[in-house]
């Protein structure tokens, strides 16, 4: 569905009113990740089994003796969300075949943070994608290990100051570039890969629905703005998500059976400066480093435009 997001005001009224991720959880103020989880839960509905790796979403949604989940939910270790989800999928398939569970469409969701996906869980994820289980994997990318105290991960962008890559006299923040996880997932030639951001809720909901519908593995990379870790006022978290897309830092696209398509077309990228200046983790950046980031962002964006042109042509 190609609907221009911000103006389709009535589509918001058509998203279900039921919440499967209950309010009252312990996320920080302005947490865009909790918002993303809520929208994903809305999109997937009632028949879903969730395997959630350790991370922010596990600790905020299940402090003993409470839970925010109104659907079956399994907490697993940092590294094996994808492995557990594929096991659950295989198990349910057998139970349905033997007639012990009534046959119906169940979505299997594995979710993890950026650490649980691109650092620790990458081999379990790669294995599950390669085996072709019918499940959805969602990576909530807040660009560092936020729940343990903002340690850098391989998803932390260049120049960001975290507690293990502090900006100071020795290094100016994170010295490596962000790992391109959606491309790694797309390289497995799986049916569906997409990037999403809760600042574009309809787009997010549609992508999750599509991912659940497609047979075979699907991977969604979700930029989840973290006001605490990004040193950002909580009221700006939605704006930061929009700026990430508008500046080209985090383009929204999908890869449907190998075909790239922009879901949110940005004709003229805004300067990256706008995105960087509202975040405290980038405030130490020198003019030179900003230029380097700007150059890299444009370069990456151009690469993506080429991929879109190449795969949409025929």
């Amino acid at each position: 569905m190609e609907i221009v997001e911000p103006t389709n005001v009535y589509a918001y009224k058509l998203i279900t009113k039921k919440d499967y991720f209950a309010p009252g959880h312990r996320a920080c103020q302005g947490c865009a990740e909790a918002l993303a989880v809520r929208l994903v839960a809305k999109a997937l509905g009632r028949n879903v089994i969730v395997a959630s790796a350790t991370g922010c979403m596990e600790i905020i949604s299940s402090p003993w003796p409470f839970t925010s989940w109104r659907v079956p939910w399994i907490h697993v270790a940092f590294e094996n969300a994808a492995a557990v989800a594929s096991g659950v999928e295989a198990g349910m398939k057998v139970l349905m075949r033997k007639g012990k569970v009534p046959k119906k469409k169940i979505t299997f969701l594995a979710m993890a943070g950026d650490g649980g996906t691109s650092d620790i869980g990458v081999q379990a994820l790669s294995g599950a994608l390669e085996r072709g289980h019918d499940f959805v994997y969602i990576c909530y990318d807040n660009e560092a290990y936020m729940n343990t105290g903002i340690q850098r991960s391989s998803s932390t962008p260049y120049g960001a100051s975290t507690t293990t890559s502090p900006a100071g006299k020795v290094i100016p923040g994170q010295m490596t570039w962000k790992k391109n996880m959606p491309e790694i997932a797309a390289a497995h030639s799986i049916p569906y890969v997409a990037t999403a951001c809760p600042s574009y809720p309809i787009d997010l909901v549609e992508k999750v629905k599509k991912a659940a519908k497609i047979k075979g593995p699907a991977y969604i990379h979700m930029l989840s703005v973290c006001p605490t870790g990004w040193r950002l006022p909580p009221e700006l978290s939605i704006k930061a998500g929009r700026l990430a897309v508008e500046t080209g830092v985090f383009p929204l696209y999908e890869v449907d059976h190998g075909r790239y398509r922009f879901t949110e077309k940005v004709e003229k990228l805004r300067p990256v400066e706008e995105y960087l200046k509202i975040q405290g983790r980038f405030r130490h950046l020198s003019e030179e480093m900003r230029d380097t980031i700007q150059k890299r962002v444009v370069e990456e964006y151009k690469k993506l435009v080429k991929k879109v042109q190449m795969t949409q042509g025929d």
């Binding site: 609907i3 911000p6 389709n8 005001v9 009535y10 589509a11 058509l14 009632r46 119906k104």
Partner: protein
Amino acid sequence: MIKFTIDGVEVEAEEGQNVLQVALDNGFDIPHLCYHEALEPYGACRLCQVEITKGNRTRLTTSCNYPALEGIQVQTGTEKVIKARKMVIELLLARSPNVPVIKDLAEEYSVGTPRFTLGDDDCILCGLCERVCREIVGVEAISFLGRGSDRKVGPPLEINPQTCIGCGACAYVCPTDCIKVEENENERTIVRWGRTLPMKKCKVCGRSFAPWFQLDYFGKITEGIPSDFWDKCPDCR
């Protein structure tokens, strides 16, 4: 609380809920195309048929507009139900043989090539677009036209609908994707209704973001918002 059973499982419903709504909330799989929880049920597609036993009488009926009543027994997968559903799918497939959703349903229920004359209309007359325009948007730009086999959805007199604000809610809700929205720098077109609206450009960043007509409409129905609010795109506000 109303208590009744679906496939032998006891479920609870609130006053005013319909059987399909309760069944979906409890994880039962009933196919449906014309039902949306935000809109009034309509009972057009007939796919959600179930067998309902009330007292001594059992009958086949659509669950989307059947109220949840105390003590009824609902069967979602009996032989009779499957047979009726197959018939409905065959008719839908004959009307719209190119729609992926219907093709998937036909595969799931192993319905082969329909015995009827094949049509080529992607619209299945579910009425969702008409209801969303009336109930949610509130402009009533489109409605059902004609009777019997000539029945279709469209703007009055099948000319450019003057009240359509080009919001695309009908395209969003359409189960078969037969309503398309095309957009370029200067105008947005809702292809099926033949409505083309010029786009307004943001005063700050210069990108076109919404049709002029739509923003005028929002200006009329909202109060206490400064008039220059509608001159900027949502990112520049």
